[in-house]
Amino acid sequence: MMLSLPQLAEAFGQLLRNGATRPEGQAPEHPGSPGAANLAAPATACRLTDYALKGYHLDVTVSPGEVVSAASLLDGEGFALDAITGLDWMADGQMEVVYDYFHPRNALRVVVRTRLPRAEPVVPTISTVFPGANWHEREAHDFFGIRFLGHPDLTPLLLPEDADYHPLRKDFALS
């Protein structure tokens, strides 16, 4: 199946429009956190990027509730999960989760990102879609304290079993 970039962008556009037109009462698959509602609606966007400058082809920003449907969409197109990264925007009071995807047969790389409130970073897990996400999410939880709703086991992966600190948060310092 040869997938072209415009088709994929169109599919994402569809997904984002659906998310935008969804009635307020019907939450997406996962409700997200109460904090997510208070936050100003995250800018959802889908734009093509210059591969030579960025290293990826498609940059998609979704609301926290839509990461699972984005993952399902990419799963259906035969993508594989590259990594899940946290990003601590302390100045903005936000936490960003970046999902990198690559395609094992085409030169296609997609970045899906979502912003969470820093005080309570909660996002639904995509380990139901990509089992490989399990470890990546545990790692993001280790480093940033991002909670992945529905994750089977969020015990520390790389940090000691009893670790209660999140070292890659910008305000982390050993006492």
């Binding site: 940090l159 000691p160 600190y165 070292p167 050993l174």
Partner: protein, 167 residues
């Protein structure tokens, strides 16, 4: 495997000649524990491989079980998650036992020490006594062999070969 309680194994009575013989035997049969942590472990393997050939000194018998090992070559970084396991391994080795700290990480934490670091044990001597330090990042296999010769000297009081002075 539970950790052993520490035993004081220094003998009550010493026999000079016998002690010398025992020291000679021990020094020439240093079996290391198969215990690679990180980069240095590759150089430790290289030291056992054909070009450098630890077996010349009878030290190529890498034993995977701490009960049969005489010297623990700590080859790599020890982090806080690993520290307890390393301590257990040390405790499980029967006396007399020696430790070589190979590489900067095992000596002091090496390049992974910075203000506010949260994971690395800054030197294996924080956990148990170390006999020989072999600096380098990673040390060359020759350096490890020199470390083993140095340990032999520590055991027997004699140097196997004269030290070659740099020109």
């Amino acid at each position: 495997m539970e950790p052993q309680t520490e035993l004081d194994c220094s003998p009550l009575v010493r026999f000079a000649a016998l002690d010398d013989l025992l020291a000679l035997g021990r020094a020439n049969s240093l079996w290391p524990l198969t215990f690679g942590l990180a980069c240095c472990a590759i150089e430790m393997m290289a030291a056992g491989a054909s070009r450098f050939d630890l077996s010349r000194f009878g030290a190529e018998v890498f034993r995977a079980s701490p009960r049969q090992a005489d010297v623990m070559i700590v080859a790599g970084t020890i982090n806080k998650k690993m520290a307890a396991a390393v301590k257990t391994l040390y405790d499980q080795m029967p006396e007399p036992k020696w430790v070589i700290a190979m590489g900067n990480c095992a000596i002091s934490g090496g390049p992974f020490v910075f203000p506010g670091q949260y994971a690395v044990v800054e030197g294996v001597d924080k956990l148990f006594p170390v006999d020989v330090f072999v600096p380098g990042c990673p040390p060359r296999p020759e350096a490890l062999i020199e470390g083993i010769l140095e340990l032999e000297k520590k055991i027997t009081g004699r140097r196997r070969w004269p030290v070659v002075k740099p020109q």
